[in-house]
Subunit: 252 residues, 2 copies
């Protein structure tokens, strides 16, 4: 098959290899919900037939999607749409670990929803979410505790329209990560995130909710989470106690 090329804006050929075009097509199907989180996608042979390319080309497209954690390959079984609802890691995007290093020994987090309400987006929130200032957003505040010690205070903002019907009760009753609930209830899949980390001194309401003294140093973690197509869908501001836990990062 010859690759189909579009003319670039400046008359540039805008070459993109065939496997990249296939990748975009598969991405499109993921985005359109043709295959849902946890589903098997068609076999490489089937996709090759569907797109009229060789299996090797489909394989390379899927390889990249797997590298970006959008799908998961399992030999002998198939390729699955990635999901946040896997028990293997409780919170895929949470980098806070107990100092002992053994997160499993610590057990699951206790979650407490402090509030969940609808409001008009302040300018900074709107900017982060790609909305206009004053657009409706949902604001959730919650506390996560590990072994009964309140450790994380999170404020998060979501665009109101995709999350219509989200309530404190719904959040409270759901077993599993919040991002898994977003997938199953609202069809919004968080794919990627960026975090900005700072140290700052505790003040209200963190002092009360995390039970720390005013001025105590806390880790401030501001996360923007994105769906497909780099669309921002959540702004989350977390305050982490780091007296018994630490934020872990790998560099290469």
């Amino acid at each position: 098959m010859t690759s189909i090329q579009e003319a670039g804006p400046g008359g540039t050929p805008a070459f993109s290899p065939l496997y990249q075009q296939i990748k975009v097509l598969i991405l499109q199907s993921l985005q359109d919900g043709e295959w849902k989180p946890g589903d098997v996608i068609p076999s490489e042979m089937d996709l090759a037939a569907r797109f009229r390319v060789s299996q090797g080309t489909v394989r390379k497209a899927i390889d990249e999607l797997a590298a970006e954690n959008l799908v998961m390959r399992r030999q002998g079984k198939g390729t699955f749409v990635a999901t946040h609802a896997e028990q293997q890691v409780q919170y895929r995007f949470l980098r806070l670990l107990p100092d002992t290093g053994d997160a499993s020994k610590e057990g699951p987090a206790q979650r407490r929803i402090i509030e969940c309400k609808r409001l008009r987006a302040p300018a900074d929130i709107a900017r982060a979410l790609g909305l206009r200032s004053g657009d409706a957003v949902l604001h959730v505040r919650r506390v996560l505790s590990f072994q009964q010690v309140p450790t994380i205070l999170e404020d998060l903002w979501l665009p109101a329209s995709p999350f219509k019907g989200l309530t404190a009760e719904r959040l409270d009753s759901y077993r599993g990560p919040m991002y898994a609930l977003f997938e199953t209830e609202f069809g919004v899949r968080m794919v990627r995130a960026e975090e900005k980390i700072r140290a700052l001194a505790a003040s209200e309401p963190a002092c009360e909710l995390l039970k720390v003294k005013a001025g105590e140093p806390l880790l401030s973690v501001e996360r923007t989470a994105f769906t497909y197509n780099d669309l921002p869908m959540e702004l989350r501001r977390g305050l982490y106690r780091t007296d018994t836990h630490h934020y872990r990062n790998s560099l290469s």
Copy 2:
């Protein structure tokens, strides 16, 4: 070519694909210094001939090495051993960015070596470096400033033997990242690192060196850097001011 397999400990076949074996061989050559940072390695065809496998198999081995940032491919030119001495990013492992987001506008960091001396490793340092407590290590303390504002205080410890001859003068006179100096002067290439991040209150000597008030929250970044084979070669404890900068991380 049939793949050569070794028997595993429990009589398990211990299958590893051919391209993984090739990857190990290439890694070995990198480790042995057959090709030095910045060098071109032989072409895929040459390596295929050398190892008696097809070009595709070599390609897959190199693909993985490139994904781990151990080598860099450049179309039409060849494959190069990765180095910290590239001007494109000043510090490959430093995740601290100015809040403006534009690190280039800020210009290069000013560096000041506070001290550089040899001493016997305390227990915690020794453990992190895989040494015995009391073994000789080098300790370096320095301050990095951005636009004349002292922003980072770093203490770092290195095993003494691979870094014999490292002095404050040598560090002072070298233009470029410290890891680049390690490569060229001592043949030690830092390949990967792990960081543990916390928030803590400033105390001496950070107050004086970073010109902050006691109790001011600072980001504590403890980094262990590894050479080939996951051998730890540096422990670095950094204190970052985060009033005008932030630590940036990407999740996926």
